[in-house]
């Protein structure tokens, strides 16, 4: 058997975008291995409504494992449940999205399955029946191609990278119940505090607007936030310099000691482009740089650059984007 199990992520019963991406990546592997794709959704009873939509994204079967204790992410219970399903189903590969939850869950699964784990994968292939994963290391300064050889392997895919794929129409996606394992909860998520804006995470957003030292002070980040808001689907990012200065939270930092992002559009405002920042965003599809220094290294990687004062350019750009989005 060479079937692949895609682990879907839901919050409050709503499937997260990365779930579809995990299913698409699983489909890629299943096609190469000659197997089918099962998707698993773990949550509280009633989460099935989310599961039903999964068939549309390329899963042949959708397994739903529910338990009263699974309202928030339950690390031990989720891992035990998915590991039991993976073992019982003899899957050749388990695909997880490398989100905050996935980065915690995937190593647990790998340890429990005694399986190798490739983290933060941006491309997948099957060569000679083996899973080959491509993953940026040194924050994207080098690309590693690894071969995983085991009865079951685990791959955690980088959000926003497995977005294209087919199989949606061909697969009906039967929804089945799976056994939840209420493992002794050694770790309990007591509370989930939503951030003030319920903001989109910089690692998952399709558009990222980042600000650097050129913004001159934390109070001017309202301009960055305004531009992000104009796009509607954008997250705010920051350079290490401004995070270290305390202007912005670390959760927004893009770069080698922050997050590595691959959005459709990355706008760097007042960021000179230190090597460790470039490493974190160079896989963006389109990069725009706004900087007053025409020799700033950021312009070397930017598809489009504007030289000048961010305090004049950003408001104008915000206005234009708003107009377009308003139709």
């Amino acid at each position: 058997m060479a079937n692949v199990l895609a682990v879907c992520e839901q919050r409050g019963g709503a499937l997260r975008k990365v779930s579809r991406e995990a299913a698409l990546a699983a489909r890629l592997l299943a096609d190469g291995l000659g197997g089918s794709v099962d998707a698993i959704v773990v949550g509280v009873p009633g989460v099935d409504a989310a599961g039903a939509k999964l068939g549309e994204v390329g899963a042949d079967r959708v397994l739903v494992a529910t338990h009263e204790g699974f309202a928030a992410y339950a690390p031990d219970g989720y891992a035990a449940t998915i590991a039991a399903v993976a073992k019982g189903g003899g899957y050749a590969a388990v695909v997880v999205a490398a989100t905050a939850t996935g980065k915690d869950l995937a190593p647990r699964l790998a340890a429990q399955l005694d399986a190798p784990l490739a983290m933060d994968v941006t491309a997948l292939a099957v060569e000679d029946g083996k899973v080959v994963a491509t993953r940026p290391i040194y924050a994207g300064k080098a690309i590693q191609h690894v071969v995983l050889e085991a009865g079951t392997v685990v791959v955690a895919i980088r959000p926003n990278t497995f977005t294209a794929g087919t199989g949606a129409q061909a697969h009906g996606g039967t929804v089945l119940a799976a056994q939840a394992v209420a493992a002794a909860a050694r770790v309990v998520v007591r509370e989930v505090k939503a951030s003030e804006k319920g903001a989109l995470d910089v690692a998952e957003a399709a558009v990222v607007v980042s600000g650097g030292r050129g913004m001159k002070g934390p109070e001017h980040f309202a301009l960055i936030e305004g531009l992000a808001e104009a796009f509607g689907n954008a997250a705010v990012g920051a350079s290490r310099a401004v995070v270290d200065a305390g202007w912005r939270p670390h959760s927004e930092q893009v770069g080698q000691t922050g997050k590595t992002v691959s959005p459709q559009l990355y706008i760097a405002v007042g960021i000179s482009g230190a090597i460790q920042h470039l490493a974190g965003m160079r896989t963006a599809k389109v990069i725009v740089a706004i900087n007053k220094d025409k020799d700033a290294p950021i312009f070397k990687v930017a598809d489009y650059g504007i030289v000048g004062d961010a305090f004049e350019i950003v408001p104008k750009l915000t206005e234009e984007v708003r107009k377009i989005r308003a139709g």
Binding site: A110, M119, V147, L148, V189, R190, Q264, D309, E320
Partner: protein
């Protein structure tokens, strides 16, 4: 409180990476204590200081040369080190986790700390795996930590929020930037570190099921262009984003 901190020697984040075979050319590369491990070392030292007693041990898997990195931790205030000697560090995180678990298993540690990941291989898995292998509670990527009467309350960032997570000691925690501000080793600490013991033993690595086939350079981005200067260039930028790049 007896605390273990697992650390790694990695190339400086500012360093340029030159590819050599399936690895990198280390000539002229400056190596440092993995930045996330600095948060783990700092946290361990603060916990020991707060408790007023205890021991902090760094455990490092790597070559003889990693002792230099371990001395950095010793200079910060760690009591002693254990080097799990391996000629090469496998790319397979589980193989590494197994070697660390062997060392930690009967160490009697109340707390085992890791950086959330190493900035070289980006594996982002070893700490959590070690916890699972030891059957201990694990909380990963913590930005806030309180320990009171054997109970751990930690916070970890998730997309659009923060999870408040609890477990009991002994536990394994992996540290995210923001948890604390690591101290710089003082001269006195650096001198003292030279005399602190580092025990060297062979790493009992697990079987390797993940190997590096090739290492390549990232695709070069094609030469971009300066659209113009000042706010007057915005209209042209917007046109290009809509019509050429098709992202707007």
């Amino acid at each position: 409180m007896k605390i273990a901190v697992c650390i790694k020697r990695v190339p400086d984040t500012e360093t340029r990476i030159r590819i050599a075979g399936a690895g990198i050319d280390e000539t002229g590369v400056k190596f440092i204590l993995n930045p996330y491990d600095e948060f783990a070392v700092e946290e361990a030292l603060q916990r020991k200081e707060k408790a007023g007693a205890g021991e902090v041990v760094v455990i490092c898997l790597g070559g003889e040369v990693a002792q230099e990195t371990m001395r950095t931790a010793l200079a910060m205030g760690v009591d002693r080190g254990v080097l799990l000697k391996a000629d090469a560090i496998p790319a397979d995180g589980l193989a590494v986790a197994k070697a660390l678990a062997v060392e930690l298993k009967d160490g009697g540690y109340d707390l085992v700390l890791f950086g959330k990941m190493a900035v070289d291989d980006y594996n982002h898995q070893t700490g959590v795996m070690v916890g699972e292998l030891l059957g201990l509670p694990v909380i990963s990527a913590i930005v806030k930590l309180e320990i009171e009467g054997g109970k751990v309350v930690a916070e970890r960032e998730i997309e659009g929020g923060v999870e408040v997570v609890e477990c009991a000691l002994p536990a394994v925690l992996t540290c995210e930037k923001g948890l604390n501000s690591p101290r710089y080793p003082a001269l006195k600490g650096i001198m003292a570190a030279k005399k602190k013991p580092i025990e060297i033993k062979p790493a009992q690595l697990g079987a390797v099921a993940l190997t590096v086939k090739t290492l390549t350079s990232p695709p070069e981005r094609k030469e971009g262009r300066i659209v113009g200067e000042g706010a007057g260039a915005v209209a042209e930028l917007v046109r290009l984003l809509q019509q050429e790049a098709k992202v707007l």
